[in-house]
Structures are given as structure tokens and as C-alpha cells.
């Protein structure tokens, strides 16, 4: 029934999936778990505060890799979660938020996230549609566009999270040049090092996915993040157990690829 080679993956996937669902509903009965702090979210708070102090805007971009397919889509979703949080902070403290994005497919969600923060804080008069600027046609249009926008508008804080392509270096170095706080983050391991090279605060890999849940403070979301650790403990156990079983002569690798 199941394709060869996919049995274990399928079983493992559905197990994780169902455990996370159960965990989310456990939160309704008051069983919540605790998380440790996320440094990069602290960075966003600090950055928005600095922007308000200096009377300069905050710039947000959700990464140039946003097509509607594959892993990139999921990372964009996570980035939009951070946009919603940023817009709420900006509304609360009164900073102007500039948003640049590279693909029109995400327009409805980006616009909604941008507006939602100002509406939730009860400041609809701060919404400026012209601050949402699309740069369509590919990464190069987006990167040159953001580079020019940063040099012209000189924001105090630059946030570039999501499925980043080459904007890591371009935006990061331009932000350095104007002396802005740079907050980067991606789950694309190939760009992550360059983000680390150029940013002051970084969402490393899964932290990007988790950030939305961290910001919400909603126990259901926090439980889904916390229960991921079960998976990590599973991997740790599998590593040690696998080594022992392998030493004992059990063909563990063949078992894992059924």
C-alpha cells in the first residue's frame, strides 16, 4: 500500500503531527509548558524602541525567496508572523513601518499582517498604504530596491527574515552602512551564515518557525513549539541507541530506510 522507502517516514510524520495536535488541545485544559527566551525577539523590541527614540522608521522585508511552493512558502508564513508582531510593536510605540516584498503572491497576507497590528492597537490612522512597496520580477529588483530604500529613508532598524536568497549580504551590508540595527533570520542553511556575518540578532533555523508562537503568548501555540522537543529527544535517543545497536551488529540503517 505504501511506497517502498516511505513507511517509516509516514509513520513518524503522522506520530509527530498527532502529538502536536494533542499538545495544542492539552493547553485548553491548562497544561502549558515553558520556553526559554528568544534573543532575536528581544532584538526586535530593542530595535523598535531605538527607532522611536531616533524618530526614524523600521524596515521589514520577508526575504526574496518567496514563491508559493515548497519550504520557501512555509518560511514566508513564519516571516509574516514576525511582521505582524513588528507592526503591533510599531503601532504601540508609534514608529513608522516600511515593508518591501518581492512577490505579489503574498500580497493579501502581508497587507493583512501590516494592517492587523495597527488595528489591534487601535491606531488605524497610522496605516499608510504607500509604505507597502512591492518589487516584482525577481531577487535583483527586490535587492536593488531595498538597498536604495534603505539609503534614502535611513531606517533605524532593518528586519530581514524569511526565505532569504542573496539579500542577506546586500541588505545586511547596506544596513551596516547606515548604522542600523540588523535583525536577520532564515531556515535556509545556505544563507544563514551570511545572515550571521552581517546581523546583530539572528533567528537560527527553527527559531524562525517558532517565533510566531513565541510572540503570541497563546498557550496552544507555545505547546506546539514545546512539544517539538519530544522529537529532539527522540533523535538524541535514536543516535545513542543506533550507535549501540550498530556496534551489536544490528542492521539499524536498513531498518531506518524501510
Amino acid at each position: 500500500m505504501i511506497k517502498t522507502g516511505w513507511l517509516l517516514d509516514t509513520i513518524l510524520f503522522w506520530t509527530i503531527f498527532i502529538v502536536l495536535f494533542i499538545g495544542a488541545f492539552m493547553a485548553k485544559q491548562g497544561k502549558t509548558l515553558k520556553l526559554r527566551e528568544l534573543l532575536a525577539l528581544e532584538g526586535i523590541r530593542e530595535g523598535v524602541g531605538r527607532a522611536v527614540e531616533m524618530n526614524k522608521p523600521v524596515h521589514f522585508s520577508p526575504g526574496a525567496g518567496t514563491l508559493l511552493t515548497g519550504d520557501w512558502a512555509t518560511q514566508t508564513v513564519a516571516a509574516i508572523g514576525i511582521l505582524a508582531y513588528t507592526s503591533r510593536l510599531c503601532a504601540k510605540y508609534g514608529a513608522r513601518l516600511l515593508v518591501s516584498y518581492p512577490y505579489a503572491e503574498w500580497l493579501p497576507l502581508i497587507e493583512e499582517a501590516y494592517r492587523s497590528g495597527f488595528l489591534l492597537e487601535g491606531k488605524p490612522e497610522m496605516i499608510r498604504p504607500a509604505d507597502l512597496q512591492p518589487y516584482l520580477g525577481g531577487y535583483y529588483v527586490f535587492d536593488t530596491g531595498v538597498m536604495r530604500r534603505l539609503m534614502d529613508e535611513r531606517p533605524a532598524t532593518v528586519i530581514n527574515v524569511g526565505p532569504i536568497i542573496w539579500d542577506s549580504i546586500d541588505i545586511g551590508e547596506t544596513a551596516k552602512r547606515i548604522g542600523a540595527i540588523m535583525i536577520g533570520g532564515t531556515a535556509r542553511l545556505l544563507q544563514l551564515p551570511y545572515v550571521v556575518l552581517t546581523s546583530d540578532y539572528v533567528f537560527i533555523g527553527e527559531e524562525l518557525y517558532a517565533a510566531g508562537a513565541f510572540t503570541s503568548g497563546d498557550p496552544m501555540q507555545i505547546n506546539t513549539v514545546a512539544l517539538q522537543d519530544l522529537g529532539k529527544y527522540f533523535v538524541l535517543v535514536m543516535l545513542v541507541l543506533g550507535m549501540i545497536l550498530l556496534a551489536a551488529g544490528v542492521p539499524i540503517i536498513q531498518w531506518l530506510s524501510i
Partner: protein, 214 residues
């Protein structure tokens, strides 16, 4: 009225849940049974839709660009004359497309000489930006920074072919670093990413993340 509001709030989530669960069930099925064949066919059909779904969005995007730029020109905001350049370029490119779409002769000329110039040059200037990032970011502050710098130096030496003759065996060291410590650390990050992906999907289905939108 409240039912309408409920539908309006949740219809997208219902569609999301239906499609996701359907495709997740269909994905691992073999095509040996009739049911498996039916599901796999639908899976392939659905999987081919995503580009088409996003295709119309470009019209909205171009509309927003035109609107923003025209507003800037009308209001004469700062640097508004550059927005005229943008609008003229847009008109030229849209006009060129009427001769055979994006593979037509005029569009081919434009993409070869205009867009290709911008895109290659943009990647090229990253070489310069990278050099200055190297110059500023690597400082021997603590053990972590030292490790970061030394592994970077070794890989830099491997990527420049001449170093193989200056320091024989450097490529073996570099490849060993890439294959072993680098891969191991990447795998450690992979585990979190794989789990984070599933958790994100669960949150989207619960509607708690609104795909992240608040």
C-alpha cells in the same frame, strides 16, 4: 450575519486543512491499488496548481506599483522624478511584451541587455560587500569567533585554487571540515527545521497563526 462572518473568517482555513490532509494521505501511497492510483493522480494534479494559483496576483502587484508611483509623482514627494523613470520602464516593458510575450524578440532584447545587466551586476557587487564583511566581522574575541574565523580561512584557501600549491594538502583539510564538522552541525539544525515545519503546519490548521498574520 454571524454565520456569514464565521464563514468569511474561516473559509480559507477550511480549504487549507482539506487540501493539506488530502495531500498528506495521498503522498506515500503506492500506485498498486485502485485507491492508491486515484489518490496519486489527484496528488499530481493538485501539486501542479500552485504556479497557476499565484499567476493572477501579478496584476494586483503591478497595480500597486503603478498606484504608489503615480501618487508619488502627483504629490511630488522626495525624489519623485525617479518614479517617472520607473513608470516609463514599466510602459516600455509591458509594450514590448505585446510582440510575442516574454520570449518575443523585443522582450528578449530587453531582458538580455537590461535585466541581465542588473541581475549579474547585483551578484557581482556582493563580492565587494563580502570582502568588507569579512574585514569587519572576523575578530578574535573569544573561542567561538576564533573557530568561525579559522574554519572560514581554511575554506577560503580551498576555494582559491592557488593555495593548493602554496599549502599542499589544504584541500583535504577543507573537504574534511565540510564533510564532517560542518555536515554534523547542519544535520543538527535540520532536525529542528523538520520539526518546526510540522509545528507550523499544525498551527496554521488550528488557525492560531492565521498563516502568521496576527
Amino acid at each position: 450575519m454571524s454565520i456569514l462572518l464565521y464563514i468569511r473568517r474561516n473559509i480559507d482555513r477550511a480549504i487549507l486543512i482539506f487540501i493539506t490532509i488530502f495531500m498528506l494521505i495521498a503522498y506515500p501511497l503506492a500506485t498498486t491499488t485502485d485507491f492508491g492510483k486515484f489518490m496519486t493522480d489527484w496528488y499530481t494534479t493538485l501539486a501542479g496548481w500552485s504556479t497557476l494559483l499565484g499567476a493572477w496576483a501579478i496584476i494586483v502587484g503591478v497595480f500597486v506599483i503603478v498606484k504608489n508611483n503615480v501618487m508619488n509623482v502627483v504629490k511630488k514627494t522626495k525624489d519623485w522624478y525617479y518614479d517617472i523613470v520607473t513608470l516609463v520602464a514599466l510602459v516600455i516593458f509591458v509594450g514590448a511584451g505585446f510582440m510575442g510575450g516574454y520570449t518575443g524578440p523585443s522582450m528578449r532584447w530587453l531582458s538580455t541587455y537590461v535585466l541581465q545587466a542588473v541581475s549579474t551586476a547585483l551578484l557581482g557587487i556582493e563580492a565587494f560587500l563580502a570582502i568588507s564583511a569579512y574585514y569587519r566581522a572576523y575578530r578574535l574575541k573569544n573561542i567561538e569567533a576564533a573557530v568561525l574565523m579559522i574554519s572560514s580561512l581554511i575554506i577560503l584557501m580551498w576555494m582559491g585554487p592557488i593555495f593548493e600549491y602554496l599549502i599542499p594538502g589544504i584541500s583535504n583539510v577543507a573537504v574534511w571540515i565540510l564533510l564532517n564538522p560542518n555536515s554534523a552541525a547542519q544535520r543538527a539544525m535540520f532536525v529542528g527545521i523538520g520539526l518546526g515545519l510540522i509545528a507550523l503546519a499544525v498551527r496554521s490548521m488550528l488557525g492560531r497563526e492565521r498563516y502568521g498574520g496576527g
